[in-house]
């Protein structure tokens, strides 16, 4: 194997020959070996050797974003839709700093991402060289792990490991910073490492699982509380099966929407700050809370001391540091939630729980989510429903961040895991448009709809150019209220109606903007038959921007004031 062999001998896999390759070529080859077919990024001086090598790849398609944050969110969209680690690229300095928001967003939502950045040559690191920034240092707190690569040789270990780390355990972003001279350094490569991938976890504690089963069997008013981990683990089906067997009313966090179909009889939908009244009221009464791949986020729990005050807690999570972080669990189980549910379900007794489910139905009918003007496709809930009426469950739904996001979370009939792409933990305005493009690139057979607002869309509007270029089957539904709606709402409710910096005095013409980018448009407010026009726009292949004005005085209700108990809901 160490003996140099002629290039032609590479044809046979049995006796790999050595080749002379640059660091950049090695990275491209390793990405190909990972099965990566699409990457997104923007070139610049310090990553040009890599781009030069990438140009020779016949397996990898490069999507040229218009801002590195867009590239990061395009990769996130691919990862969220597919569940596989996705790759974004940026040059040193501003290229790298522009990626940071998308990386931090991936960290908080546990999205597997591999970010590759160029760095100034090693000899110039620490000299304040042109476009030099401490990418390694900047990315420490927002990555699962990061690397500053010191030699071309190291790449053979670092790149597969980056994929392993991104995909294993609790998924997350990994950054690989590669100095320009390392990209250019040529070495002999005689053997390729195995591609990185998801590694198995240690088996969960069976005694704890048995205890959990006994608690479920003994409970009178149990609730199943699903988080994003259920989606990441591919455990949605197992979770629904457990709920059905033990008759468990099931609530989902923002990240878990779609894990159980919204119209499943046991679904009590989203909990927390903008959950329906009946959901938060039922949680108040439960005597056992079974948290699966959820992290007791403050938007879900409200005031923690008042969250499920009568309940014992079973907490299942792949990340041991989540157990007892916010709420002490009576039984904490560290493990892959899919694997734990598989072991737990056979120990759980079938149970009808007629009294509890009757009570659930009673609360639901008395305190369900209010959706006024549902029949008007130019109202906020009406528009969301009208879009849903035109699509089936194969469509993917992305959002930006703000009022529109909460309305869609409350009201869109999500029925499939990975159908839903939203920025949960970081709540990043500007997420929607590029992430939706990523989803469309990963699954071109699907229609992707991105609900956005007039505040959010401007934060990454440059990616309309990327969307037009890709001809992605992506429909942007812009709910324009001429305001930063959630800020406006909070100022009205909690700051004595002292509105400040939340209304836009001058607004661009979004329809003309979209036209300028070469994107088809629909003005819902002037359409003679809005429903028919909407259906047509959603069914026409390719990108389209659908614009509707929304009254800025509309609120997201119910609302739990920040820091209050979930039972202290306003409105709805």
């Amino acid at each position: 194997m160490n003996a140099p062999a002629p290039q032609t001998a590479r044809q046979t896999d049995a006796a790999p020959a050595s080749e002379t390759l640059t660091g950049a070529q090695i990275v491209v080859r390793l990405l190909e070996r990972q099965g990566v077919t699409t990457v997104s990024g923007i070139p610049g001086g310090a990553i040009l050797p890599f781009y030069d090598a990438l140009s020779a790849s016949e397996k990898i398609r490069h999507v040229l974003a218009r801002h590195e944050q867009g590239a990061g969110f395009i990769a996130q969209g691919m990862a969220r839709a597919s569940g596989q680690p996705a790759v974004c690229l940026a040059s040193s300095g501003p290229g790298a700093t522009n990626l940071l928001t998308a990386i931090a967003d991936a960290k908080l939502d546990s999205i597997p991402l591999v970010a590759i950045t160029g760095q100034v040559p090693r000899s110039m690191i620490g000299t304040d060289a042109f476009q030099e920034v401490d990418t390694y240092g900047l990315s420490i707190p927002i990555t699962k792990h990061n690397f500053l690569v010191n030699s071309a040789e190291e790449l053979l270990e670092v790149i597969p490991r980056a994929f392993t780390l991104a995909a294993s355990g609790r998924p997350g972003p990994v950054l690989v910073d590669i100095p320009k001279d390392v990209q250019a350094q040529a070495i002999e490569v005689s053997q390729w490492p195995a591609p990185g991938g998801r590694q198995a976890r240690p088996a969960p504690d069976m005694a704890a699982i048995e205890k959990a089963a006994a608690m479920i069997n003994a409970a009178e008013r149990p609730i199943l509380y699903l988080g994003g981990g259920v989606v990441h683990s591919g455990a949605a089906e197992a979770a629904v099966a457990l709920a059905e067997k033990a008759s468990l009313p099931t609530t989902m966090t923002l990240m878990a929407l779609g894990a159980m179909p919204v119209d499943h009889p046991l679904s009590i939908h989203m909990l927390g700050m903008h959950g329906a009244r009946y959901t938060n009221l039922l949680l108040e009464e439960c005597d056992l809370l079974i948290a699966v791949g959820a992290r007791f986020d403050d938007r879900a729990t409200g005031k923690v001391a008042a969250f499920c005050p009568k309940a014992q807690i079973i907490h299942i999570d792949i990340d041991p540091s989540e157990l007892d972080k916010i709420k002490n669990a009576h039984v904490g189980i560290a493990g892959d939630v899919g694997e734990v549910l598989e072991k737990l379900s056979p120990l759980v007794e079938a149970h009808l729980r007629k009294r509890w489910l009757t009570h659930m139905g009673d609360l639901r009918s008395r305190f369900r989510l209010q959706r006024p003007n549902l029949e008007d496709p130019r109202s906020h809930y009406g528009l969301i429903q009208a879009v849903a009426d035109c699509l089936d469950d194969s469509a993917s739904i992305a959002t930006d961040v703000g009022q529109h996001q909460m309305w869609v979370a409350q009201a869109y009939p999500l029925r499939r895991p990975r159908q839903w792409l939203t920025s949960g933990g970081l709540g990043t305005m500007g997420f929607g448009v590029p992430a939706a493009l990523g989803a469309a690139l990963a699954e071109p057979e699907r229609t992707v709809v991105c609900f956005t607002g007039d505040g959010s869309i401007l934060m990454n509007i440059q990616e309309l150019a990327t969307i037009a270029e890709a001809g992605a089957n992506l429909k942007i539904v812009l709910m324009n209220n001429d305001a930063l709606g959630l800020v406006y709402q909070q100022q009205e409710l909690f700051y004595g109606k002292r509105y400040f910096a939340s209304k836009f005095a001058g607004q661009p013409d979004f329809l003309k903007i979209a036209e300028g980018f070469g994107i088809d448009t629909l003005d819902l407010d002037t359409a003679a038959a809005p429903r028919a026009a909407l259906r047509q726009a959603l069914q026409r292949p390719g990108p389209c921007l659908i614009h509707a004005f929304i009254d800025m005085n509309e609120k997201v209700y119910p609302m739990v004031p920040p820091g209050a108990a979930n039972t202290d809901m306003i409105g709805g």
């Binding site: 240092g137 707190p141 041991p320 007892d324």
Partner: protein, 105 residues
């Protein structure tokens, strides 16, 4: 000040001290990962000591911290770091920082 026993410490209502012993991969950046976990939570590290062990591929880091209710979570976060191999907790009576005292007089 190290002459006080645990009980005396409690009596004085001074925060209890804990010594953490970490075994880590020895490369640039590991220290930054470890102390960053503390600094970003405004959790002060009172003392740090680090030297390579064995062939130099591994280092041992000793941290002296004050106990508070976040310590359990801190230890779990440190354990999660990729370059941290093991974490052990010792009581305040561990000798490592006490013997260093003479260099800080």
């Amino acid at each position: 000040m190290n002459a006080v026993s645990k009980n005396e410490n409690a009596a004085l209502a001074r925060p209890q001290r804990t010594v953490l012993e970490l075994e880590v991969n020895n490369h640039a950046g590991v220290m930054s990962h470890v102390v960053g976990l503390f600094s970003r939570r405004a959790y002060n590290v009172e003392g740090i000591l680090c030297l390579p062990v064995g062939d130099g591929s591994i280092s041992r880091i000793w941290l002296l911290v004050l106990e508070d209710r976040r310590l359990e979570q801190m230890v779990k976060q440190v354990e999660k770091l990729e370059d941290v191999r093991t974490v052990r907790r010792h009581g305040a009576d561990h000798a490592v920082f006490e013997r260093l005292e003479e260099f800080f007089r």
